[in-house]
């Protein structure tokens, strides 16, 4: 999937800038430090999580390098870890523990959870990357996040960062209950994803009335007026033609075309109004990184809360969503390179 999301662009550039350094495997710390200042384009919250993630990652890498056990087992582990984040948790915790010294700062910054998560992903990535063959042999099959890690071989940059929490529900009832709780918790950058429009979700999400009717109406009126102006200009002013003894600018014969152009422009207004309000087309979105999300157009119901939300907090948001009894909960990461 092409990574052309606006948000990731600045980061992408800077990472490309330091790419030669990162290619040299020798000094991981140097490269992470080189990358750090360049993240200034990101929001303050992002900077913290990024910095913490990177420092933890550096530690995790050392830990992984030390603990070189059976390569085959590692490979299997990495695959499982990518498919099921839960199973990888144990590894991650180990890695985080080993990385205690380096991730100390991060823990102080109150982002221990971030560090652990980042360490988890890095550990998985490094295990994968240690086996060069495996890295080549895994094209984007098992989900974009894994694929991204695969292709990123042994470079030192984090290739992904948390983008959103994705909670999955089995029934519309569960979804609406959960949506009410998320709404009441005061989140803004969050959404429900359903295979069809679910009744009552507008209220449950606290959405205000859509503005699309206004857009359509304005466009329709433009159509009406332009029909009148066009006909009057062409048949009455620029080149008057008298047909059937009627005055050139007679009103009744204009009605059909006035109506048709009103409908036509209302239609265009509605189409483009819809695309504008929904910010479509948008072919790249971090939510698509989740394999489970494919069921959102089939038979599952999802709530996503973006890390961009001012109230977002890895721990608290996770706790909130866990309280709504999702059938599955995951932290979806987006690629940044």
């Amino acid at each position: 999937m092409a990574n052309d999301d606006k948000k990731t662009k600045p980061v992408k550039k800077t990472l490309m800038g330091v790419a030669p350094v990162s290619d040299e495997q020798a000094d991981s710390a140097a490269s992470t430090k080189a990358a750090k200042p360049d993240l200034s384009g990101a929001t303050p919250g992002e900077q913290v999580t990024q910095a913490a993630a990177e420092e933890a990652a550096a530690g995790a890498e050392l830990a992984a390098a030390k603990a070189e056990s059976d390569p085959a087992e590692r490979k299997v582990k990495a695959e499982v870890a990518a498919a099921k984040a839960a199973e990888a948790k144990a590894d991650a915790e180990k890695a985080a523990a080993n990385a205690e010294a380096t991730s100390d700062d991060a823990a102080k910054a109150g982002a221990g959870m971030v560090a652990a998560d980042a360490a988890k992903t890095r550990a998985a990535a490094l295990e994968e990357a240690a086996d060069a063959e495996a890295a080549v042999a895994h094209p984007k099959k098992k989900g974009a996040t894994l694929a991204a890690r695969d292709t990123a071989t042994a470079d030192e940059e984090p290739t992904s960062r948390p983008a959103l929490f994705l909670a999955e529900y089995e029934t519309p009832d569960d979804l609406v209950h959960a949506a009410e709780q998320v709404r009441d918790a005061g989140y803004e950058k969050w959404d429900c994803h359903t295979p069809y429009p679910v009744h009552g979700l507008d209220q449950a999400m606290g959405l205000s009335e859509t503005k699309i009717g206004f857009i359509s109406f304005v466009c329709g009126m433009v159509g009406l007026v332009s029909a009148v102006l066009m006909i009057q200009y062409m048949n009455n002013w620029d080149y008057p033609i008298i047909i059937g003894g009627k005055p050139p600018g007679s009103f009744p014969s204009m009605v059909p075309i006035m109506f048709e152009l009103t409908v036509l422009l209302t239609g265009f207004g509605t189409l483009f109004g819809l695309l504008h309000l929904a910010r479509l087309p948008m072919h790249h979105h971090p939510i698509f990184e989740s394999d489970r999300f494919e069921a959102a157009t089939d038979d599952r119901f999802f709530i996503s809360i973006e890390t961009q939300d001012p109230k977002f907090d890895l721990k608290k948001t996770r706790a909130l969503l866990e309280k709504t009894h999702p059938s599955h909960l995951e932290l979806v990461e987006e690629e940044i390179a």
């Binding site: 699309i212 152009l261 509605t270």
Partner: protein, 489 residues
């Protein structure tokens, strides 16, 4: 929003089998685009492509020879070409009626057939547009119809009903395509998410515009859909009204009638439903979709045909009544001599030579659908198949009767003639079926032919039962089930 409450009150059951899950719907519809085409598809597709080739050859021949290769003559200046145009446009009307008008009336049973019917609208309008475009004689100058500045400094005459027609048909085509596409977006996303190959994922992904089922989008989407339905409803009524103005604003006896707009619209819906049903019966058996398109759906469509058939029959009768009651000899001549073959003989004591076309029309359009009074006929697949074919033929004859029998024996015996179709008339008309069916078969093969998201929304468990109180009363309605308990409040 009083959804389909009437259905509920009438005690009608959900049209889909109980226990249908969301995934069942996805599977049932998507598999058609994912599996290998059934043999029946190829059996239909290859002849369609052959007919399409025939159409293209006819057009090339016609362009190289001029429209004299048609049977049009003096005084029958309009004949099969305009007949076919009006017929095809009318066919399209059922699609819009099903997708827009039934939506406004919250007839949820439409969800199984609306996509299908909308596609039919688009293709039928394309077929229709071929005829007037060629009838101009030099189609490469058809852009004169558009209000474009030109070196001659003249503009189209906006007082001409033919000009209104240009706007009406083009608007209709454009809006139909947009409405259809907007309806498709969520379903294309479903296909995208089920794609096994990269190519499919890319193509459906591009077409789905990155749809992610977001409720923030659904909110705008639902309103947009409502607006489309709200503008399509008067649009579809206007299109055939304006087509009828082509005739009604003239001073020809047989054309100059105020009953034409409603009469044309009823006829359009009538013929459109007939063709939707004809096609659906074929597609349903080829693709084995009996669980999604049920006998109950067809029963309802047959009732529509019975109703609109009676309206059309009333219009025929009323035309005759007025022709007689007005005492206008020219009007009476057209109706009794040219059409009915009763009274008003010519000098040689004969009826008009095309009297049989009138009786073909009446027997197909008025008599045949009366069988739909019987529930046994309404629910019998072979019976309805035959009757819908009759209606399709009858509605073609209706347009032929209106156009040709009003023209072929004019005010003076000196300008009398008749009309004989040439082989190119016939082949070109057959060829448009090739265009229609080729597009249609490609559509059912590559695009979800049933509105997946809309069908899901009508399932009994689709909506939370506790949610917003003012929505509570919608649910049993949305389900269309008798089993759903009436809301307490």
């Amino acid at each position: 929003m009083a959804s389909a409450a009437p259905i509920h009150e009438l005690g009608e059951r959900s049209l889909l089998p109980p226990g249908t899950t969301f995934n069942d719907v996805t599977e049932a519809v998507c598999r058609l685009t994912e599996e290998k085409a059934p043999r029946g598809w190829w059996v239909l597709f290859l002849p369609s492509v052959a007919l399409l080739g025939l159409m293209l050859s006819c057009i090339v021949y016609l362009l190289s020879m001029g429209i004299g290769v048609w049977g049009n003559n003096t005084p029958a200046y309009w004949a099969w070409d305009i007949t076919n145009f009006v017929w095809w446009i009318g066919i399209g009307h059922a699609g819009t009626l099903i997708s827009a008008i039934l939506f406004l009336f919250r007839q949820n049973w439409r969800t199984s057939i609306n996509r299908f019917a909308e596609a039919m609208t688009v293709f039928a309008v394309l077929c229709a547009a071929i005829f007037p475009a060629l009838h101009t004689g030099r189609p490469w100058f058809d852009y004169y119809l558009a209000p474009l500045p030109n070196q001659m400094g003249i503009w189209p005459n906006f007082k001409s009903p033919l000009m209104w027609d240009v706007f009406a048909v083009n608007t209709y085509l454009t809006i139909s395509v947009i409405f259809w596409y907007v309806g498709l977006i969520p379903d294309l996303a479903t296909l995208r998410d089920r794609s096994k190959t990269l190519l499919r994922k890319r193509i459906y992904g591009a077409l789905a515009l990155g749809w992610r089922g977001s409720h923030r989008h659904w909110q705008h989407y639902e309103r947009a859909y409502l607006i489309f339905a709200a503008i399509s409803t008067p649009l579809v009524l206007s299109v055939h009204s304006i087509v009828s103005f082509d005739f009604a604003t003239s001073v020809m006896p047989g054309w100059h009638t105020t009953i034409f707009p409603p009469y044309f619209v009823a006829g359009a819906v009538f013929s459109g439903f007939a063709l939707v049903l004809t096609l659906m019966l074929i597609v349903r058996s080829v693709f084995k979709m009996h669980s999604l398109v049920t006998i109950k759906h067809m029963d309802l469509m047959n009732k529509f045909m019975l109703g609109t058939g009676i309206m059309v029959g009333y219009a025929y009768a009323m035309e005759f009544f007025i022709a007689w009651y007005s005492g206008n000899p020219y009007e009476s001549w057209v109706f009794f001599h040219n059409r009915l073959g009763f009274g008003y003989l010519d000098q040689e004591g004969n009826w008009g030579p095309l009297w049989w076309s009138y009786w073909a029309m009446v027997s197909c359009n008025v008599i045949a659908p009366q069988l739909f009074w019987f529930k046994k006929v309404r629910t019998s697949v072979p019976a309805m198949f035959v009757i819908t074919i009759f209606i399709n033929i009858g509605m073609w004859f209706e347009r032929f009767v209106i156009i040709v029998t009003s023209l072929y024996r004019d005010f003076l015996p000196g300008s009398w003639g008749s009309f004989h179709a040439t082989w190119i008339d016939i082949l070109l008309y057959m060829g448009t079926f090739g265009l229609f069916f080729t597009l249609f078969l490609l559509f059912i093969r590559w695009v979800p032919m049933i509105a997946i998201a809309e069908v899901k929304a009508t399932l009994p468990h689709a909506h939370p039962h506790h949610a917003g109180d003012d929505h509570a009363e919608d649910h049993p309605a949305a389900l269309g089930t008798v089993d759903a308990p009436a809301p307490a409040e």
